[in-house]
Amino acid sequence: MKCEEALLLISGHLDHANTIEEEAALQAHLSTCSACRDVLQAFEYADQGIADLQEKAPEDLCDRVMEQISQPKKKKHLRPWLGVVAAALLLVVGVSATVDLQEENIVPQTATVSEAYSVQRSVVQVDADALAQQISRERDAVVAVVREMYYEIETYPCETLEEGGVLYALPDHNAAVLLHETYGCAIYEPNENSDTAYALLVP
């Protein structure tokens, strides 16, 4: 056995992952190769050193988690660039003012920003929403419109649509509702009894 091959088996030996044959071959090699015996000792030392670095979690971790999940859920999940625009808008018109992005009679100095926001918003939303409605009708399914990839949906089977976007098959109706509650995604449902559910990811 070459030392290069032994390296893999030395690592496997530490993880108790070698087969009986591999282990026998390794031991035979180690009995004649002091360099590989050194490697084994060095690996053991490093493993022990890494394992010894473990610490207790901070005492307040659980409380912090529970405090955060007990807070009211976010109603809307803006894409980062929309967040910047919205923040700029809030700065201009004042935090206490009621901001209605669809209103036409917004103070003049905010018009450019708000127009940009409304136009972008409507262009993205109309297409996606129409598509979601269409899928919801045709497949008798609840459809949540998502604007960015959430880790929750990435492992579900998906299909790429000709109209644009990717459709993820969700496990049930509640999963779509959860996306709505967590991220504020729009959802379309033909009726409350439908248990077929999708997440429509649009660019």
């Binding site: 992952a17 490093a46 890494i50 988690v65």
Partner: protein, 201 residues
């Protein structure tokens, strides 16, 4: 051992308080995974918190065909990797400087001052070596050596083949060995020399 399935069912039925039991059961493991991935206690606490909150939000998406721990570690690993990539984008500067090394506590309660210094230095050297490993090697080594997961579980968490996990672990160990040797770790040299002497006898 807590009954995870029963707790998960309770949380899914709206009993948020039950989630605390899952946090308590996994907080050390999740925190240590984050700590080894990001090498900063404060960041590790924030990342662990983020991972648990995401787990709570996404619990409905947990398909019970794999172990809850595997699902949670996968989620935590993704949180850490996202964080590291964002951090890398924000700053092209190397993550490791001597000033940034963790000040590590010594676990043994009764060493002499000299031993204490030696132990602390050894721990700092290993922590620093882990920090210098590329993300893919640090991840696999942490999941195996710190979390003690099987190759199959690591493969599931990282979307790799079991054979890839095996070879990547060997390469990770070889890399960290080189970093430790390069750092002139006395204890490390001592360990090898000592065993050589023992072999010679």
């Amino acid at each position: 051992m807590i009954n995870e399935k029963s707790i998960i069912d309770q949380v899914l039925q709206g009993n948020d308080e039950a989630f605390a039991e899952l946090v308590k059961a996994y907080e050390d493991k999740v925190y240590n995974l984050c700590l080894r991935m990001c090498s900063d206690r404060e960041d590790a606490r924030d990342l662990a918190q983020e991972a648990f909150v995401k787990a709570w939000r996404g619990l409905r998406f947990y398909k019970q065909e794999s172990a809850f721990s595997t699902w949670l570690f996968r989620l935590t690993t993704n949180v850490c990797i996202d964080y590291l990539r964002q951090k890398k984008r924000r700053s092209a500067v190397s993550l490791t400087t001597d000033d940034e090394l963790l000040q590590l506590d010594v676990p043994d309660p009764s060493p002499t001052p000299e031993e204490q210094v030696q132990q602390t230095m050894a721990r700092q050297t290993v922590a620093s070596a882990m920090e210098q490993l590329e993300e893919e090697f640090r991840t696999v080594l942490t999941l195996r050596v710190v979390e003690e997961l099987s190759y199959e579980e690591i493969a599931e968490i990282l979307d790799l083949k079991v054979g890839t996990v095996k070879s990547r672990l060997a390469r990770a160990r070889e890399k960290i060995k080189k970093i430790l040797l390069k750092s002139g770790n006395d204890l490390f040299d001592h360990s090898v020399k000592k065993n050589r002497e023992e072999d010679a006898l």
